[in-house]
Amino acid sequence: MKLIIAAVKPFKLEEVREALTAIGVRGMMVTEIKGFGAQSGHTEIYRGAEYAVNFVPKVKLEIVVPDSLSDEVVDTILKAAKTDKIGDGKIFVLDVAQAVRVRTGEAGDDAL
């Protein structure tokens, strides 16, 4: 199995989720994160005190899928999250040794 980690723009979350459900992804973990990258942050001034906010709000998706589905998931995210503007995000793929569903104890692909 593979763990697919994607950092995307917050307002793209719904679109990505729908696209993934469409191709049969049945679960994911979503985290609000602060992203750092080529897309620069912004400055805020409070009574003359200037603060550079170097981080940009992003959403991180973590999805575990059978190896077979991995590439399709990556492509789907690529399409759904794309705005062609800087800061669209990244996708990373890692190997997963094992997966278990807590409720049933099922392991492996059945757990997903």
């Binding site: 805020e44 001034i45 409070y46 009574r47 003359g48 005190a49 603060y51 906010v53």
Partner: protein
């Protein structure tokens, strides 16, 4: 009479009491309308403390110290109220003839009863109204050294400060025997006593206690501007009690003070927003509430003396100068008056005190000066009172900080400061979400 009643809001009460036109008969009697208004005015100033200033400050600090400002405000205000009934009222209005000190005549409010009058209102009401002024002033100061002060230090300093700075200066400004009062200084609702006084004490405190760890490096943005906005708005509304209440009656002067409080604040808020727009292209929420407070402070000494249109300018000018100070000057000087108590209360207070002498001119829509006094002379006595207040306040405050530091200490440890006062001084977190 007329002359006197022009000099200061508080004075007018005594003055008016004797005017046949306003009292049913020669000897003063309780007026239910005046009493009704002053009860409300007192509650409104209380509202400026609970929750006004507490929220204003709490919203402007980081989440990890949000509660510390609430606790400090509440405990300082409550402690000072207790001091006030025990000896504060006596020290300020105890009836002594000294220009500096009210004496021991009214310790524990002795001699005051349900039927004692002060002008057309019960004396207990005058006492309560004045008590709220005494309670809020030290609470204003703590903004100067927020997020690093020891609770015990903040409270002890406040008690010492009201005793040696506030009570005497209140006597000087508002008691019939007071120094400034007899100079004919125009301070309608306490620009010198409350705002300049608090501003200067905060500035000295910021120097003595030193800047927050990470100043200029870490993000120290306000943790909740909506909460600060609530605080500022409550201060705005409560200020009607502060300013219009200083007429000590429900009369034309009170009403003039009210409309001026509106227009000066409007002018100041718009002015701050405009200067921000010009200098950085954006008008901020923090800017709006900063301008609002600057305007309220500036109109405090002027409220009953200037006209509604003049007040717009008075507020706007004070706001622009305060902006220039906190946005430009302060960053050069590099001290950490964390919530700009000096930058806003101090600066706008000084500007307001001086401009009161100007905009009181009938030619500018003001109610005019005491007989035989011209603008120049008035401005001069205004400045004299300001200078005395600053010098007295700065020197005595400095000493009291040192004394406090020796007795209980002023500053928490670096680790505690870094972790945040809420957990280390109060054992709580502001939010669990």
């Amino acid at each position: 009479m007329k002359n006197l009643s022009k000099i200061t809001g508080f004075a007018s009460a005594f003055a008016l009491a004797a005017l046949p036109a306003l009292a049913q008969d020669a000897e003063p009697a309780l007026d239910t309308g005046d009493t009704a208004w002053m009860i409300v005015a007192t509650a409104l100033v209380g509202f400026m403390i609970f929750p006004g200033i507490a929220l204003f400050y709490s919203g402007l600090v980081r989440a990890k110290s949000a509660l510390s400002l609430l606790v400090q405000t509440a405990l300082i205000a409550c402690t000072v109220m207790i001091c006030w009934v025990i000896y504060g009222y006596s020290f300020a209005f105890g009836g002594s003839e000294s220009p500096f000190f009210g004496g021991f005549g009214k310790l524990f409010l002795s001699g005051v009863g349900v039927d004692s009058l002060s002008g057309t209102i019960p004396e207990y009401l005058f006492i309560a109204f004045q008590m709220t002024f005494a309670a809020i002033t030290p609470a204003l100061i703590i903004g100067g050294f927020a997020e690093r002060i020891k609770l015990s230090g903040a409270v002890l300093f406040s008690v010492l400060w009201v005793t040696f700075v506030y009570f005497p200066i209140a006597h000087m400004a508002w008691d019939a025997n007071g120094l400034f009062f007899n100079w004919g200084t125009m301070d309608f609702a306490g620009g010198t006593v409350v705002h300049i006084n608090a501003g200067i004490a905060a500035l000295v405190g910021a120097y003595v206690i030193g800047p927050r760890i990470g100043l200029g490096k870490d993000l120290m943005a306000p943790h909740s501007l909506p909460i600060a906005f609530i605080g500022a708005s409550v201060l705005f509304i409560g200020w009607f009690g502060f300013n219009a209440g200083s007429a000590l009656a429900a009369n034309g002067t009170a009403v003039l003070a009210m409309i001026n409080t509106f227009t000066a604040t409007a002018g100041a808020t718009v002015a701050w927003a405009l200067i921000e727009t010009l200098t950085r292209g954006k008008a901020s929420a923090l800017g709006c509430i900063s301008g609002m407070i600057a305007g309220l402070v500036a109109v405090t000494p002027a409220a009953g003396f200037v006209g509604p249109v003049g007040a717009i300018f008075l507020g706007a000018i004070a706001s622009l100068i305060a902006y220039f100070f906190v946005a430009v000057v302060k960053n050069k000087l590099g001290y950490d008056d964390s919530l700009d108590v000096f930058g806003i209360h101090g600066i706008a207070g000084i500007v307001g005190a001086v401009l009161t002498g100007v905009f009181a001119a009938p030619s500018l829509g003001g109610v005019g000066y005491a007989e035989g006094v011209g603008m120049g002379a008035q401005v001069f006595v205004q400045i004299k009172a300001v200078v005395i207040t600053i010098v007295w306040g700065a020197v005595v405050s400095f000493i009291l900080y040192k004394v406090t530091d020796v007795i209980v200490g002023l500053r928490v440890s670096a680790d505690d400061e870094r972790q945040g006062l809420d957990q280390t001084s109060h054992g709580e977190s502001a939010y669990h979400q």
